[in-house]
């Protein structure tokens, strides 16, 4: 029996209990509802490189505390397709190259799951059969030039998620 059905039964059972208690005083109706699992995407931690130095590349690994992190929560056991829109350069006082993207997705909120390369091509993942969760960890490498202008550089990582079953 799937989660939605279980929840439906729970709602129905509660309704029937309430109906029994009120039976001596009034007429009753029975209401049922199917509770459907929503889809939740959350960016839980930005990908932060902190300070970098001109001419010295810096990598944030998926296992680092400053890796980018997403959480997907949805229908348990469902398969999702994940695609990414990633910058090739960050913007700031100038342009700063970023690349060598790395990824790890897991059913628990730890690395050590399935390694993948974030890109515009689809990566498939199955949401945990119990919790409906999938956790993503994203890393990358920035390559400042020797003449890289000082200042703050930023960009955006976009995660697209769609169920493959509909």
């Amino acid at each position: 029996m799937n989660t939605a059905s279980k929840l439906s039964l729970a709602v129905l059972a509660l309704t029937l209990v309430g109906a029994s208690a009120a039976q001596a005083q009034s007429a009753n109706i029975t209401a049922t509802a199917t509770v459907l699992t929503p889809l939740t995407l959350t960016g839980t931690a930005n990908l932060a490189f902190g300070n970098v130095f001109p001419g010295i590349a810096k990598t944030v690994a998926v296992t680092d505390a400053t890796s980018g992190r997403f959480t997907i929560a949805g229908n348990p056991g469902s398969q999702v397709s994940m695609t990414f829109t990633l910058p090739a350069n960050l913007t700031g006082p100038g342009s700063l190259a970023i690349g060598t993207w790395t990824g790890d997705h897991n059913n628990t909120n730890t690395t050590g799951g399935t390694l993948f390369t974030p890109s515009g091509a689809a990566t498939l993942a199955t949401l945990d059969a119990g919790t409906g969760n999938r956790f993503l960890f994203i890393g990358a490498t920035v390559t400042p030039t020797v003449a890289q202008a000082a200042g703050a550089y930023s960009g955006t990582i976009t995660l697209n998620v769609v169920y493959t079953g509909l």
Binding site: P38, L39, N46, N51, P87, V162
Partner: protein, 277 residues
């Protein structure tokens, strides 16, 4: 370094990199619109502690498989001319909104189909984009420093199905195939949709030994818009030499969708044997 850059660097340094949780809950995860009402809605909820900027748009796409049986849903801004697309005549209100912390927002979907629209099913994808509004870059407010950080944006893509008239669906299941390697049975399930609407259902795949004992199984949701030939990998562990059977059952059972949204169709069933030497 300019004064503004120094101020920005100082501000950024005070922003913890991990202090973000921008996202949005989207419910339901599919919208079915009937021609009689021509409207639908979704509810967005921001569970976080910061406002979230949300943009709603439409695209077009449906599940497909490549030659290896891998699934994907490629979503384009517009649909090819020969597709039954609702993309061009669906509108969302509001299209852009900021949702405060732990607040909800209803997005209404209105359809304005062209006059004389033939009976049938018309498809679109609703794209809900959400991003936080805060500056994420952290670093030391050193006048000569280069500080680097990236923000996150999430896009939830859900199906929108517009139906007009009396519709039907079904599946033709071609012969499935099964191979065993690396303790896994790989099953291919070639399917072709019949009728006038997409087939929305569930595939159940079971691996049985010669005595009928279950060695492994898989269950997954399916949306067959035209054809689909997915590969289903079922971990079974080491198998003793012998003959095994893979049983594939397709049905329109979908516990994750409202019952009225799922068009009924007769179940389809087939099986294939493979041998481990």
């Amino acid at each position: 370094m300019k004064r503004t850059n120094r101020m920005l660097a100082a501000l950024l340094a005070l922003t913890p990199a991990a202090a973000v949780a921008q996202g949005v809950i989207v419910a339901p995860h599919a919208v079915f619109i009937d021609h009689a009402t021509r409207s639908g809605s979704i509810t967005l909820y921001n569970p976080g502690e910061n406002p979230v900027e949300v943009t709603v748009s439409f695209g077009f796409g449906y599940p497909t498989t490549d030659s290896a049986g891998s699934m994907s849903v490629e979503v384009a801004d517009s649909a090819p001319a020969n597709e039954p697309a609702a993309t061009a005549w669906l509108q969302a209100f509001p299209r852009r909104v900021t949702i405060g912390q732990q607040e909800r927002q209803t997005i209404r979907l209105l359809a304005s189909p062209p006059a004389g629209l033939p009976d049938g099913e018309y498809w679109a994808r609703l794209i809900v984009s959400a991003k936080g509004g805060q500056v994420p870059v952290a670093g030391t407010p050193d006048s000569g420093a280069i500080t680097v950080g990236l923000t996150l944006e999430v896009r939830t893509v859900i199906a929108v199905v517009y139906r007009k008239g009396s519709l039907s669906t079904g599946l033709t299941l071609a012969a499935p195939s099964a191979t065993y390697a690396n303790d896994t049975v790989a099953v291919r399930i070639p399917m072709t949709r019949t009728g006038t609407a997409a087939y929305v259902g569930t595939a159940r795949v079971r691996v049985l030994d010669a005595k009928g004992a279950l060695k492994g199984e898989d269950e997954r949701a399916l949306g067959v818009y035209y054809t689909l030939d997915p590969r289903v990998d079922i971990p079974v562990g080491p198998l003793a030499p012998g003959t095994y059977k893979v049983v594939v059952t397709l049905s329109t059972d979908r516990g994750d969708l409202p019952p009225k949204a799922v068009l009924p169709a007769p179940p389809a069933r087939d099986s294939v044997e493979f041998t481990v030497r």
